[in-house]
């Protein structure tokens, strides 16, 4: 049976399989999100067709772009800090890789089921700040430096609402383990009717909204794209990157979007669980990834919808939004959730 398969393999075999799967999933996720949302959804919202030539309906456009990036010369600016400059995209991409390590796609379909999985995910997500700062500093470019500084300020500011928004769920589920959070939602009862589970978006809607806003800022997407702002600082910390190093940034951005959408669907939308089935069933290892994929695409659609609609905030305005609106709201949410948890 498929869900026992993993248990019969040796440790090194399991690890090899997981490595290959994650290494394949990130570019695939970046390709899917890039094609479906960045190219097609954006085009249709802007009354144009988007790419139509490479493959049917332009499906292979991003592959063609990827090949183009690989062919480009690996350019270093003359005064760049070479090692920092070269390492920065890798650091950013590694933080994306680590995010996938705890993302559960089924009861056993997870690379590493940690007791503090949520804590781990939110912690490694903030590693990308280091890479961004390295890119901004190492490029020896004024625009890049400004972008890097803006990114550091923004990512640190939005780390807090991101974590605080997730804590409401943690209080309600009573665990930091992502898989147990899914199970808590699957076994939960909706108005005393237990068969269909209880996705936390119903009680934690405020948390969900704050989480999405903070994710938007973590991904440096409009309306929080001040660090890359093409029309102002011409791409910010990415301005000097070409070829496969730029591809790394691109993959990290969309891979992280996919992973964060996954974490949001685990926390708020019930993860891999489908109402009506027994959550203990091993079949979820098989259908879980597909369920997750649908939910991730739904959350990503929201993220990218914001991206294509809003103008960007100035950095003082987005700091104000984080510290004066999102953090107090999230704290209030925690207080209310905690009180209700004790009382009910």
């Amino acid at each position: 049976m498929i869900w026992t398969l993993a248990l019969e393999l040796a440790y090194w075999q399991q690890t090899a399989i997981k490595l290959v799967v994650v290494a394949l999933v990130i570019p695939t996720a970046a390709l899917i999100l890039g094609y479906v949302f960045l190219m097609k959804m954006m085009s249709f919202m802007q009354s144009r067709l988007g790419p139509m030539e490479a493959g049917p309906y332009g499906t292979l456009q991003l592959l063609a772009d990827g090949v183009k990036f690989l062919q480009k010369e690996d350019v270093f600016p003359r005064r760049a800090d070479r090692y920092v400059f070269a390492l920065a995209p890798v650091v950013v991409l590694v933080s994306t890789f680590l995010l996938y390590a705890v993302l559960p796609m089924g009861p056993d379909a997870v690379v590493s089921s940690l007791d503090a999985g949520l804590f781990f995910a939110l912690a490694v997500a903030s590693l990308s700040v280091i890479g961004v700062l390295m890119a901004g500093w190492g490029s020896a470019n004024k625009y890049a430096l400004m972008g890097g500084m803006r990114a550091a300020g923004q990512l640190i500011a939005y780390e807090l609402p991101l974590v605080l928004a997730a804590i409401g769920v943690v209080i309600q589920a009573g665990t930091l383990d992502l898989n147990k959070i899914v199970l808590a939602q699957a076994n939960g009862e909706l108005f005393g009717w237990g068969a269909i589970g209880f996705p936390y978006i119903l009680t934690q809607f405020l948390g969900f909204a704050i989480f999405l806003v903070a994710v938007q800022a973590e991904l440096t997407q409009p309306p929080f794209d001040m660090p890359v702002a093409e029309s102002e600082i011409v791409g910010g910390y990415q301005v000097e990157y070409t070829g496969f190093r730029f591809l790394f940034f691109f993959m990290a951005e969309f891979g992280t979007a996919f992973a964060f959408a996954g974490i949001a669907s685990v926390l708020f939308l019930g993860g891999w669980y489908v109402p009506g089935l027994d959550p203990a069933s091993g079949w979820f290892n098989l259908i879980g990834p597909f369920v997750m994929f649908i939910k991730i695409m739904a959350v990503s659609a929201l993220i990218f919808w914001f991206r294509f609609t809003f103008p960007r905030l100035r950095e003082d305005q987005l700091q104000k939004l984080a510290w004066k609106v999102l953090v107090p709201l999230a704290l209030g949410n925690i207080v209310v959730t905690g009180v209700l948890k004790v009382l009910v």
Partner: protein
Amino acid sequence: MTVTEREQRAFIAAAAADARVNVELETEGMTLNIGPQHPATHGTLRIVARLDGEQVVAAEPVMGYMHRGYEKLAEVRTYPQVTTLINRIDWLGSFANEVPFILAAEQLMEVEVPPRAAWIRTILFELSRLANIALFLGDMGVQLGALTPVFFAFRDREFVLNQIEAVTGGRFHPNFDRIGGLKDDLPKGWIEETRGVMAKMRNFCDELEDLLMGNEIFEARTRGVGVIPADIALSYGLSGANLRASGVDWDMRRDNPCGLVHDQLDWKVWTHPDGDSFARYWVRLQETREATYMVEQMLDGLPAGPVMAKVPVIIKVPAGEAYVATENPLGVMGYYVVSKGDLGPFRVKIRSASFNNISVAPWVLRGVYVPDVITILASLYFILGDIDR
């Protein structure tokens, strides 16, 4: 003007004090070149900004990267040939560039233009305004990070360009205005089509009002950013929507129509008291809508008759001097034409709107943040061809 100088001196003193503090704290400012190759300058404008962190201490626009010497070139062309050149000054509203020059030449020759020609001229003048300002309305979104409005602008501007092309044969460079009238009459069925396009443009304005102008982030980014008071606007010679957004009720179309038929139409000059970036956007949006009503009125009242007066085949303009200025999409555009009775002008001085509009940049850019530099430049709305003739 005295207020300005006093304010400037106070500002310089404050900046010097800041600089002393910076020296004591051992921090130094940074000089940032925004441009000549920069997406926000849509062309080759260079802004040298002295920064303290993200704050602009002093900024100066450097012009001339696209200087093409049209004033000098016009001296070695005949009068009909000059329109080909001046088409390319404000390349988004080309036809409007031709009008003041032709009007000046007609003034010197004392030619009476047939009424139908004057009306069609005004229609095309307003259509080029629509084509020009529509792009601003979308482009402002791009400068602020909203990607969608500019595509709506390109989509709907295309209808206007199609109408211009149907009459003149040229989408961007019509070269259609002649001394004494126009090259051709309107094509068949054009009037009805244009009515449909005007409805589409009004729809476009409503769309942008919802999508961009009504957006809270857009308001937060533009309200109170880049405020130009009325006296500063007047002393720097601002014109067009930039001036009207500062609350100065001055429009050449109403105040000095000189040959165009705006005075025979029922329309309103929009002004806004605030003088900030939002006001400039708001005024332009209202003007776009007003222009569609104007075109519809002109389509209704179009007189019959010829479109060309009797002028000699070889045009020689009698000796004399004439200055004609019209309210072009970007502001007041004027031509000072000096003729010595030859086939071509002896000297042409072009007063283009963007050159004066951008000259306020050092005043308005000091003390703002780097993102606001982009907002202010976008809202001042210049075309590089119009700055460097």
